[in-house]
């Protein structure tokens, strides 16, 4: 009863207030990215992500993507990784790769409950490997629709995040991603996230550094 009255009171006060006309929206010129070719978009995506200290590897096929992963795993000395189970990662067959490389591959599905999964992703994983639903050229941004096969902490808790994105998923602007994700109001993802570079801060004396709470490094493998 108390609650409905607070709601009513607030809305009532707002509705009683004098009305303010809403004018037509001014003209907004379209962003340059909207008229770019795919190669230009790849260039823009790469430049913008590199500005934020992200690393972009362009490969031709899933086979090459696996080769790149092997290189990264050796350079970063990866022993245990948490990987998502989305369709892009599924195509890479990482468990087989892990066995060959001597790397323990964990997925959220391996854990009996939330807490043991959290222990692993916080304390054990040297890296998180995920697919991404979008790569957005305008700011070198990844877009991820969180869901059963794309858990939130994999791209956040480990110190290294490696994202694998087929080039068909490269779009010029945020709107091109959001229009798809939010098209059907009945199937909205619980969370959608845009990721642009590693976690960062400048809160002590304005000194910028990466890896504040989330990954210190972000690597993107662009396939195609």
């Amino acid at each position: 009863m108390e609650q409905s009255s607070a709601r009513e009171e607030i809305l009532q006060k707002l509705k009683q207030a004098p009305a303010e006309p809403v004018g037509p929206r001014p003209v907004l010129p379209p962003l340059a990215e909207l008229s770019m070719t795919q190669e230009e978009l790849v260039k823009r995506f790469t430049e913008r992500l590199v500005e934020e200290t992200g690393v972009v590897y362009r490969v031709k096929s899933y086979e090459e993507a696996i080769e790149k992963l092997t290189e990264i795993a050796q350079a970063e000395n990866l022993k245990k990784v948490m990987v998502s189970t989305d369709e892009v990662i599924g195509q890479l067959n990482l468990p087989a790769w892990g066995t060959k490389q001597g790397i323990k591959i964990m997925t959220p599905l391996d854990f009996v409950d939330r807490d043991s999964y959290k222990d692993a992703v916080f304390l054990e994983a040297d890296a998180g490997i995920t697919g991404a639903d979008f790569a957005v050229a305008e700011s070198g941004t990844l877009g991820i629709r969180h869901r059963k096969d794309q858990a939130r902490l994999i791209s956040l808790a480990p110190i290294l995040h490696i994202a694998v994105v087929p080039i068909e998923r490269l779009v010029p602007t945020y709107e091109k991603a959001i229009d798809q994700v939010f098209a059907n109001k009945n199937s909205l993802p619980s969370q959608f996230v845009f990721i642009t570079g590693p976690s960062m801060t400048g809160d002590i004396q304005g000194v910028l550094f990466k890896g504040m709470h989330g990954p210190r490094k972000l690597m993107v493998i662009l396939i195609g």
Binding site: L11, L14, L28, E52, P108, Q205, M212, G214
Partner: protein, 477 residues
């Protein structure tokens, strides 16, 4: 946070002589302004982009009740729970109740201006629930019990020595260091454990999208993403004006927010929640509570001119460009909101009486207005508040000026409307005024106007007024 806006002059005097604040103010705002310009240059037409942002915010505020209802309906359909709070106390009690019912010992908090306004941390700690601020700057400010120096970099002025000492004492820093990166890493490790085991997380909201019932957070560190991924319970607190009509509008505002704030094209993380996690998801909140807080805003909303302060998106561009902020920094404003945005907002939230100096400590240069992506006209609001203050507005209150001052200005207003009286007055006043001139400048004067001259100089009055010279010229001709 207890407002100290009445101590403005005292705080200013202290901050003008605080070498640490001064050191930072020389460096930080110019760099931020430059980054902002570079960031904005990626728009095909900067003016058009800013104007479009202003139009979105104007429309959002004009349609506020309708958009809030629409947002609530969609948020509920997404499975979130919505609580409305008339004031700080109702919001804090509700959040405390949620925490107690779930038996949590601590919460992690993402940066939230509105919970600083409502003093949520104090209420939680008094009731035995530890609130951990997890944004690095907020974490430092919280440990040192300091108000925010800047709304985006709240502890950016705190010297590394002080950060080292407080981290040794309270954040498990083992080896003393003065390297900001190592200090940041120590905070990472300390707070990581909090994120790992947290059962309830509290965040603010940058935007609430009416058409989809989605709440959006914009951040760089990842602390908000943890706070929305690790715990089973998520509480997101928003003031009523955060709502925007559509996702498209939100995206444009986010572009503007990031560029105007840090010059980034996009901050590291922009996360958008439409309800709690689905059953088959392993992380994310099982329950999502959205707390919609009024706390004085419906009162502001009744005034068509004043309500434009509700358009603010908290980008801090106005702080970085402001010549007054550039001298005194954020502490002097005495509350969570500082700089021009605080100077237009605080007087309406705290009352014109308690914020006398805020709308007077301005050069009316309109630099704030020129950078604002929400189209707020700060200088005209300062004048509006001054008028309401001196006439003791029945709605917003105010404090009448001293009787002597009122009498003087009444007589002045009467006299300057009569040219003969003005001319006569000039002739009579000139010798008395010019008596104080040294090298053509009047720097001080004794008597009733002494205070006015404490901060101002006047050129001495000319030997002849314009009228007199005109007459003489005519005669010569």
């Amino acid at each position: 946070m207890e407002p100290r806006t009445e101590k403005f002059k005292e705080l200013v005097a202290r901050e003008l002589h605080n070498p640490l604040s001064q050191k930072f103010l020389k460096v930080m705002p110019p760099i931020q302004n430059m980054k902002r310009s570079i960031g904005l240059s990626t728009f095909p037409d900067i003016e058009a982009a800013q104007a479009y942002g202003a139009a979105i915010r104007q429309e959002a505020i004009a349609r506020l009740p309708e958009l809030l209802e629409h947002f609530e309906k969609n948020a509920l359909a997404n499975g979130a729970q919505v609580f409305w709070a008339r004031d700080a106390q109702e919001a804090n009690e509700y959040i405390l109740k949620l925490a107690k019912e779930r038996g949590v010992k601590y919460v992690t908090k993402g940066k939230s201006m509105v919970t600083e306004e409502t003093g949520l941390n104090e209420v939680l700690s008094q009731n035995g629930i530890e609130p951990w601020e997890t944004d690095l700057g907020e974490f430092i400010a919280q440990q040192l019990n300091l108000p925010p120096f800047h709304i985006v970099g709240p502890a950016i002025n705190v010297p590394v020595e002080e950060v080292r000492d407080i981290f040794m004492a309270k954040a498990n820093l083992k080896e003393p260091t003065l390297d900001p990166v190592e200090l940041g890493y120590a905070a990472r490790l300390f707070l990581r454990d909090k994120f790992h085991h947290v059962q309830m997380g509290i965040t603010g909201v940058n935007m609430a999208v009416a058409e989809t019932g989605t709440i959006i957070n914009v951040e760089n560190e990842g602390n908000i993403r943890y706070t929305k991924a690790s715990p089973r319970t998520q509480v997101s607190v928003m003031s009523i004006e955060k709502v925007v009509p559509t996702m498209k509008d939100a995206l444009h505002l986010i572009r503007l927010l990031c560029r105007n704030c840090t010059g980034q094209k996009l901050s590291a993380y922009v996360s958008m929640d439409s309800g709690p996690k689905k059953k088959d998801e392993i992380d994310g909140p099982e329950e999502l509570f959205i707390v919609i807080v009024d706390n004085g805003r419906t009162k502001i909303y009744q005034d068509l001119k004043a309500r434009q302060v509700l358009r603010c998106i908290r980008c801090a561009a106005c702080l970085n460009i402001c010549p007054v902020y550039g001298q005194i920094g954020g502490y002097a404003y005495g509350w969570a909101y500082s700089g021009p945005m605080g100077q237009v907002l605080n007087p309406l939230l705290l009352g014109l009486e308690k914020t006398q100096d805020l709308y007077r400590a301005t050069t009316l240069c309109a630099a704030c207005k020129s950078v604002c992506p929400a189209g707020i006209d700060h200088p005209s609001l300062f004048l509006y508040y001054r008028h309401k203050d001196v006439t003791v507005d029945p709605y917003f209150g105010g404090k009448a000026r001293p009787a002597q001052e009122i009498r003087f200005f009444k007589a002045w207003a009467w006299a300057i409307k009569r040219p003969w009286l003005w001319n006569l007055g000039i002739k009579m006043a000139r010798p008395f005024i010019n008596k104080n001139a040294r090298e053509g400048i009047i720097r001080q004067i004794k008597g009733s106007f002494a205070d006015w001259f404490r901060q101002r100089d006047l050129p001495a009055m000319a030997e002849n007024t314009f009228h007199e010279r005109w007459k003489n010229l005519k005669k010569e001709a």
